[in-house]
Symmetry: D2
Subunit: 422 residues, 4 copies
């Protein structure tokens, strides 16, 4: 299943005049010049979000999983799905692979397929939270932090191999999410577990090519329910600082305790020059992995407000990391991309100069007015215009449904297949 820009442009034609009206009205009621909007469009066009290979199939919970049809059966089909997302949305020009599931049989062919789709290879991801068939040592009691040096070595070697796979695909970074921790008080010596983890990470770090980055993810709980080795941004920053300049912290929005002010963490990590990237999703309770923007869209906006303090000078890794349990994964990902772009666009609209002045004056009412003025703006016409100019669909989900893409995928792949790596 492939979708070319020609076809999309034809489909856009039918709703172009409605869009033009909205886009005209949008600019009319704004107080900004055309050049202001052109700059916005340029910045928004550049926004590319990596799609993780594991998010292309239906996800589940410990209580069960209800797969849909037409899910990708291999790396080629995963790439094809990301290609569809990118063609429709214009902002999904990257894929993030999960090893061992996404080891390419033919690297050159995969690279060529990606190039044709306009998709690059973002961070590669290792997996030491499950045992693979025939694995000699078990990760039951940890991997990089394990008390047994042999298990640690297995996990280190796996991560080094993941880097090698990534190099072959021109990826430039590895994300390490560690499930290591303890379920019970007393199970683990906190300090020794941290020190062993640092030592293991150092060996992986030493294997990094010079132009690579390592992202150290943190998470307070799950699958361990008493403690985790890298439980918060403080521990992640300690590790990234001790490892060296190529190591950064990675923020997954769902990996925080209740009520955490995530946007402030973003600011702290940027201040220290150690914010590496993001895993976007949303949650109401824990690491719920819901569609980003579906529960707390204002928080997402506030995070982008912070990011824009540093986004000009820094390069961040953006990735969606959600679990699509009850929606079509591709539709869910289109909603995710849209929500991220909305938050980004609204954050761009914040009048920074006025905000700084109001902050200096402690004019709290005005600070809130300025911030909410941006959030309350309906930026969808702007985003549609960005898509139109980049050859993407004015209404990605509507077009996905109109073209019956899921049906075509089911026809091609079957209705009972399981995406690998889930």
């Amino acid at each position: 299943m492939h979708l070319d820009h020609q076809r999309i442009a034809e489909e856009n034609e039918a709703i172009l005049s409605a869009h033009q009206t909205q886009w005209d009205c949008f600019r009319t009621v704004s107080s900004q010049s055309d050049s202001y909007w052109e700059e916005c469009i340029t910045r928004l066009s550049a926004m590319q979000i990596a799609i993780p290979s594991w998010a292309l199939g239906t996800g589940g919970t410990r209580f069960g999983r209800f797969p849909g049809g037409g899910e990708p059966r291999n790396l080629e089909e995963k790439l094809a799905d990301v290609g569809l997302l990118h063609a429709l949305s214009g902002h999904a020009g990257a894929i993030s692979l999960h090893i061992p599931w996404d080891i390419p049989d033919d690297t050159a062919a995969i690279r060529q397929q990606a190039e044709e789709l306009g998709v690059v290879f973002d961070a590669v991801n290792s997996n030491t939270f499950q045992d693979q068939d025939g694995q000699l040592q078990s990760y039951k009691f940890g991997s990089l932090s394990h008390t047994d040096a042999a298990v640690r070595q297995l996990a280190v070697t796996h991560n080094q191999e993941v880097i090698d796979y990534g190099k072959a695909l021109n990826s430039k970074s590895i994300t390490v999410w560690l499930s290591d921790g303890a379920n019970f008080p007393g199970q683990q010596n906190f300090r020794r577990a941290f020190e062993r983890t640092l030592d293991s990470l150092q060996q992986i770090y030493d294997h990094l090519p010079n132009d690579w980055r390592m992202y150290v993810e943190y998470k307070p709980y799950e699958p361990n329910f008493y403690s985790t080795v890298i439980q918060d941004w403080g521990s992640s920053l300690l590790l990234a600082s001790k490892l060296g300049p190529k190591a950064y912290s990675l923020v997954d929005l769902g990996h925080h305790l209740p009520n955490t002010n995530i946007e402030q963490i973003v600011s702290r990590l940027m201040m220290e020059g150690k914010l590496g990237g993001f895993h976007f999703n949303d949650s109401k309770y824990g690491d719920d992995d819901l569609t980003v923007g579906s529960i707390k869209p204002y928080q997402l906006f506030l995070i982008f407000v912070e990011l824009l303090e540093g986004i000009a000078s820094e390069s961040f890794a953006w990735m969606i990391d959600a679990s699509h349990n009850v929606k079509d994964p591709l539709e869910d990902l289109m909603q995710s991309v849209e929500a991220i772009l909305i938050a980004y666009a609204q954050a761009l609209l914040v009048d920074r100069q006025a905000l700084n002045a109001a902050q200096e004056d402690n004019d709290v009412t005005l600070c809130q007015e300025i911030i909410q003025q941006a959030f309350r703006t309906d930026v969808r016409p702007l985003l549609a215009e960005v898509r139109r100019r980049n050859g993407a669909a004015l209404h990605p989900i509507l077009l996905f449904r109109k073209l019956q893409i899921r049906s075509a995928l089911i026809e091609e792949r079957g209705s009972k297949v399981l995406a690998t790596g889930l």
Copy 2:
């Protein structure tokens, strides 16, 4: 300080053409007919939110309080402040009194002042969480739930007197918020505390006029930090059901444990015919009493989506209950009113028929699209039009600042006064 509609209309004039453009564009990009918008305007115009008398001064915390200037020194000045808010916003046509601070010296004069301002008397509020000077028994260990019958009687009598004060002002309801509870395990027998509370409430209930309502508020903690007698909607509903048809539950948005799905509680209470009213505020951690809509605007919208299932047939009490610690209280209240109206207007825009159909089909993607389509709409031109038609200010806060109302109030009342009841 008084603000008449003539003056406001003149001020509106200068920005009327900009508003007209926004309002035209708003309707142009919508797919709705003029009659649709007229009905919206009618419904929105009818929305009146009660201002609690204690919110007109600067609030504080246990760590301190930093008062501003020009705060109202008595009931007349509190009414005047609400009159200003109503003149500016068009949606603040009610005041909620707190006894003992707001006992009128001259009831007839107060009623006349209120009538001239277009302000009615909403629910009256009792106070049994503090001891008043010369009070014979203490509420240190509770009031309506106290182990000592004499303390309970004192609290019951106080509540009955509050009803009497309210009758004189043509109020039609009393809100009972009970701080009773325990700080430590073992301090209180949960069951007997509940039974004593029910008995006390029954005596207050029996004192209610026939056309009155009693609102039973719940709160999980603070000022008691282990347990409260009416800790959640379940206990509130039990009490309201046992008391009788004039008793209802009252939902304060800040009175919930972390991550609570408040909109579902709203639905449950409506299903049982026992949702009585709302205290609007916002919070990130506990009962933070921040400006409603300043932290979780999407949650506020979702609550209104639920409310609209029943709002046609029911009559609810709407009240702001926030603590204005760092903003000018009147500006903060204008932001609160605006946030409530935005959420209400967005909820009106939800396409109910389409949503119901999508829900029946379990088309989760579409459900989210329908809901977010409404939330992402910038309804501010609609609300400005509502204000314009009702003689209120197109931009209340801008006008408040332009007219230097706070300076005038400071001149009139002084810069060092303390609002009573704080």
Copy 3:
């Protein structure tokens, strides 16, 4: 693998004198009479906790599962495991089955096996949170609350069949845990979902034998992450009340929002005569399903303090519901049983008369002294004495290890088997 009382008594012999010293000292330092302790022993001896069939194998999370060896492969082996637990601890004389996994091939044989082991059949459990192979309709979007009547019928029929299986084994109750809910705002109409659920439950209720009970469990989230149909005790109580006198609420300790005062909920449900039973486990973050007593032993004690207000007149269903991810399941269950008995024994030691007097006096210091006096008492000698008298092991886990029971089970069942139903 079978363990008879003779063998256990022999093993106890070697450590009997140490126990006797501890038991003597325990009574010496207490201020209680022998008859007081005899009554305690009688009450403690009667405490029997049901073991759920799914807890006998290694559990896991959505991220993976690391099975141990010697796990039971069928109902007979599950019963045998519970028999071992009961022989060792003296308090595990019941099993709770999960249908469809535990449908007996030969009901009479199973009943006889259970009788020989001194094990009865506690509540039976239905499963409508997963699709079984060949199932015509899917529970992907709910079961008892589903929008499609055919799916609801499937779920109702399944529950009725579960009751029938239970009848054949002389079970007297069914526990309904419903995973139904929504992952996203707008996905589900809260009210209609509740009404459909009530209607479905009514059909199951009508199928109950006269001497049966139905337990309605509640849970705030997971596997649905925005809302659940039976989200808290309030909704559970509403359902149980509407259904009739045979319906009760069931409290699972892990099914609460952060910071919930669970012991107060216990009191409320008892006050309404609707507390039916308990699922014991512990948690630090969410429904972590850790060993009961491993994280918050004081909370467990406080719950028993409340329960003892009603335990004389009521009959409750006690069940462990935990997930043993990193410990030997049988060892974990022995730790669970011990923790429950400790909390129960400590609660028995609370001087109720003194506590009531201190509560009436609002002598908060004394209330805390009385409560903590009980909690700080080391009741392990008392519990060992209870076990000794009932023919169980003085030190169950030590004996389990000394007898190398797990090795024997691995030899018998293999090291790579998976417990069914996980």
Copy 4:
């Protein structure tokens, strides 16, 4: 009111034989040698906990305060109260002052009084969260982080003066708790607020004598409800590291988000050599400031288990920081001291060697057995023996009541006084 050791010894006499029986039994059932217990007694005897001057009167909330009688009216009476606590408990040999309330009129006299009571001066505490009468600039919008350099200077100078007051009393440390933060998104630039705070702290740090320490406290919220400048251990550690070797982080148990694993934070800070001290209290919801050990005694124990990894080589500042709203403050403090000592003693009992071995083996069941073996031990006879040897009361609270100390204090000080600084 003064209590001498002679009098206490006499009172102990009457219950000495009961104690001796308990102490004998305690040792009999333990498997430890006499020398083991002697070492425990030595270590426990050395434990001294500072009492903050503000905890000697009745505390309150934003909703009110219900003072008791006989509260200390000045620094001399506060010292006298701490002297009483120390005489009764043997573990309260330090006081922590709060400036401006505790500025001594006669430093030499105060030092002499303290010396006679066996009480030393622990960390001094500054206050920049309230405005004092006549203060030229206001802390309404912050102190050390304020946008206005003049306000920052005021706060810096105040802290430097607090150090000077401390020097005169031979204190060796200052604790800085900063209430600075924001109530609303957008109010504050996170990065600049942090940088200004660091700059201000550096000026205070530069004023420290060579043998002093500075403790940097963190807190996620309250009195600011959107963000605080030093929100968590990560930010506190950043500041302490940037300031220099005399700066440390301070952990207040109530200053964490829901479900935080505090014991792990303790371990992290110790690993970095930056754990400076503790504020002990307990909480169920937020910074509830309840009696330590009254809600989560197991967590308190686990914290001491971690502390004992470093307690030999490090010197920590121990302080109670609670608010006594419904108990007699002195009784509450005696319960606090007892709870801390219990947790400490239980942590001493953990078999470290066995625990380390079990951790290395990933024998999770055994790890839990070892940890809980210690926690379940009733160490009260041991603590009573420690008190007896140090001339303190076998039962401090019983003796406090028997001697009617509160009545004597009311007689001396009056029943309507308010402790200063509350």
